[in-house]
Symmetry: none
Subunit: 141 residues, 4 copies
């Protein structure tokens, strides 16, 4: 087995473009949001808190992004009960609430976007608008 494998890295420019698209979508919906974009190691790349968004959603948006980057899946699908136990075990990093999606290009997870301050469905819609702005990113979540 190989010691290293080819991978892709999301640039700040890519993250900025995604963030702008998510902000535009949230504006069009009339729902102010906190939007966080992380790399595949869960470190923050870009963030926006729109006017009127809840400031506690800074944390939840970021952690939704962490959760989606870790599981390589949209947040919100974990079994009830298990999710709370793992949320505590990860000191709150695992958030099983809609609004986090992985950024997957060429089958590789290169980061994630997490959105919070609206309803779960609104958050997910804004996250997916970010994905749509990145050429080649998987969008069917």
């Amino acid at each position: 087995m190989a010691d290293t494998v080819p991978h892709l890295k999301l640039t700040y420019e890519g993250a900025r473009k995604m963030l702008a698209a998510s902000v535009a979508k949230a504006e069009a919906m009339g729902v102010p949001q906190c939007i966080a974009i992380v790399d595949d190691g869960a470190n923050l790349l870009a963030f926006a808190r729109m006017d009127g968004a809840k400031f506690l959603s800074i944390d939840s948006a970021w952690r939704k992004a962490m959760s989606a980057a870790s599981s390589r899946a949209a947040t919100g699908g974990m079994a009830e009960g298990l999710d709370i136990r793992l949320a505590i075990a990860t000191q709150g990093k695992l958030v099983n609430v809609k609004g986090g999606v992985p950024i997957v290009v060429d089958g590789k997870t290169i980061g994630a976007i997490g959105v919070g301050s609206g309803t779960g469905d609104q958050d997910l819609e804004v996250a997916k608008a970010g994905l749509a702005a990145l050429a080649g990113a998987k969008t069917d979540f």
Copy 2:
């Protein structure tokens, strides 16, 4: 009563052997895992995150091992409700989710192995494969 009693100590070599067996089992199952082995004081001895395992499972695998070492029992059997209260009280160290088992030799708990990133049953199976690699270790969990 005696002031000191004979004990057994898991060596790094023993932990490494268990880790390799757990990794091999997870590979055979096609389920990438995070695997943590701790001593009887819950201090980390050996760890592996396989390609494709969730990075948030670094925390949960380690904490399952802590929980099993503390209780000297497999994780996942605590009463619902009580487990969450104790999880919060221990700042997330107690994790009542399957995948952690104590390492018991000659009736002495000398450490524990915790596995996370698959389902609870898969995690437990991989943990037990580690136990099976250690001569004399109790495996009926």
Copy 3:
């Protein structure tokens, strides 16, 4: 004395404009940076981690912004010894390292910008480039 007083609030649009100016300055300098903009309550408004910036500077940039918002002064001027004691007392929120400046308009502190990943002087220069993009903001730090 009045029960309430007029205040000013930095919008996301204002923060975004400042962030873009700081990023452009850092690019021109050839020094990739982490840049955080907070409101007057130290809550994050906008953030960028440029390609090549240190990810541990996510924390330090944000905390420099927190420190500048709290003290309404540039970071880095506190007495040695006192600064470490207060850093510990605030769980690391107070950072007495150059690179954080308050955003002051019409004599009112409405937020702060914190920059980290270069030298202290480079960080400060990039922070001030952000201030210069906001009409009416005090820039002599």
Copy 4:
């Protein structure tokens, strides 16, 4: 500017090989060590605590690896005073003590190795033995 750029990813197999080489070196030196290998986002990939190594070095070895991954440089070269301020600002993640080196292949930082429990020079020597086991990795630190 591109939204994504080609990158490399360290596999568990690569990390395991490095860990084994570092353990062998530490054994040959007669200095038991804690050895942590992280990916480029500072998430743990592989870990060993050898018999006789200090258990508090679990934390310091891991954090040396985090620091080297973040700065893309060997740990221990930061100015005195600044290092303590940034250590507090990053909640202890930044450790300015010898023994952490980045894993750099083809000019790309793909992770880091951190070693602790010996002297700083011994720790660095054991970390470099790990680098030498990875084909193409930069070793002149």
